[in-house]
């Protein structure tokens, strides 16, 4: 038994080296993330306001979500590239937040209500993340929601053999909305994911 003690000491020393290495890697990752974290928006008077329907057809108003941190993306389900990229990023962000993701509410607000009906939204949002809530409504209600945080969008006709086929040009950021409804940050998929996770976690400190 006594002869096994030196072996135990060696194994403990290797373990200590592993711990030291992990500490160094964690510090390095945190420093990189802090350096790359997108800046917060300060002094904005913009507050997200909406009265829409979720992808189950139930009414949902911005007032119902006060007190929560919101991650809001405006897009449309027939978007060829940007929306899948940004919603895929949003999914990885939620995965990166782990259990903390329960403290944020992710929203996808369509800017194309003519095509993005409740059933279309229901099929779409779940493919990206089961926690994502799709929102649609009347054209003017969506325009009001977009205007409240400065999102711009417009219809663009596209040549195809389908008459009236169009796409939507739209702002591509994910809008981070604080518990009082104020716009506090914009994220997009070009920001390193670790930086975005760190930024969202730091905003959670102020949550009730």
């Amino acid at each position: 038994m006594k002869r096994l003690l030196p072996l135990g000491a060696i194994l403990l020393a290797i373990g200590a080296g592993v711990v030291l290495g992990c500490v160094l890697l964690a510090q390095r990752a945190q420093a990189q993330a802090a350096q790359l974290a997108p800046p917060a928006i300060t002094g904005t008077a913009q507050h997200l306001e909406f009265a829409l329907s979720d992808h189950h057809g139930r009414p949902l108003r911005s007032a119902d979500l006060r007190g929560r941190l919101l991650l809001v993306y405006f897009g449309f389900t027939t978007c060829p590239d940007i929306c899948p990229t940004e919603l895929g990023y949003l999914h990885r962000l939620l995965v990166g937040l782990g259990a903390d993701a329960a403290r944020v509410t992710p929203l996808f607000i369509t800017v194309d209500p003519a095509r993005d009906t409740v059933p279309v939204l229901a099929n779409y949002v779940g493919l990206f993340d089961a926690r994502l809530i799709g929102l649609t409504g009347a054209e003017d209600a969506i325009r009001a929601a977009a205007d409240s945080v400065g999102v711009v969008y417009s219809r663009t006709d596209v040549a195809s053999t389908v008459p009236g086929f169009y796409l939507m040009n739209h702002s591509r950021s994910t809008y981070v909305i604080g518990p009082d409804g104020a716009l506090i940050q914009r994220l997009d998929a070009s920001a390193p994911l670790e930086a975005a996770v760190l930024a969202i976690r730091s905003l959670m400190k102020d949550l009730p």
């Binding site: 290797i14 290495g21 990885r92 990206f128 195809s160 389908v162 086929f165």
Partner: protein, 150 residues
Amino acid sequence: MSSDSLWRWTLRALPLAIAVGFGLTLWVGLAPAAPGARAFPDLAPDHPELGRRAYAHCLGCHGVAGQGIPGYSPSLTDSAVVLGSPASLARLLLNGAPQSPRWNQHMPAFKDRFSNAELAALLSLVRSSWGNAAPAITAAEIAAARRSQP
């Protein structure tokens, strides 16, 4: 070997053991990531939903039933490209395709967005849906297509 000399050797070896643990951790932690990020880090590479979830990135152009949009994006049903060579199809997905006189929408390159397993699940789903009946594509075939990139 006496107990005293064993401990003497052990004490001498301790710094080396710490260095080994430290070095191994940094080697693993700083290793470059495998090609292709995982779009669904929460799903195992053999998860049955992987292909359907990945298709969310395609349905804007190719439609919920792979029907495409005439003049804009091709149909994925009964398509020689979809049902043909796995290597060619994999390269098309990895590198994307430019806009053309026939198709008014370019296809983005997916090589940095999906892992090999995710691309394999996606292509296997497309090759076996909406009346298509071509064999599945494996992650190894996607990896080979990546390696064959110029």
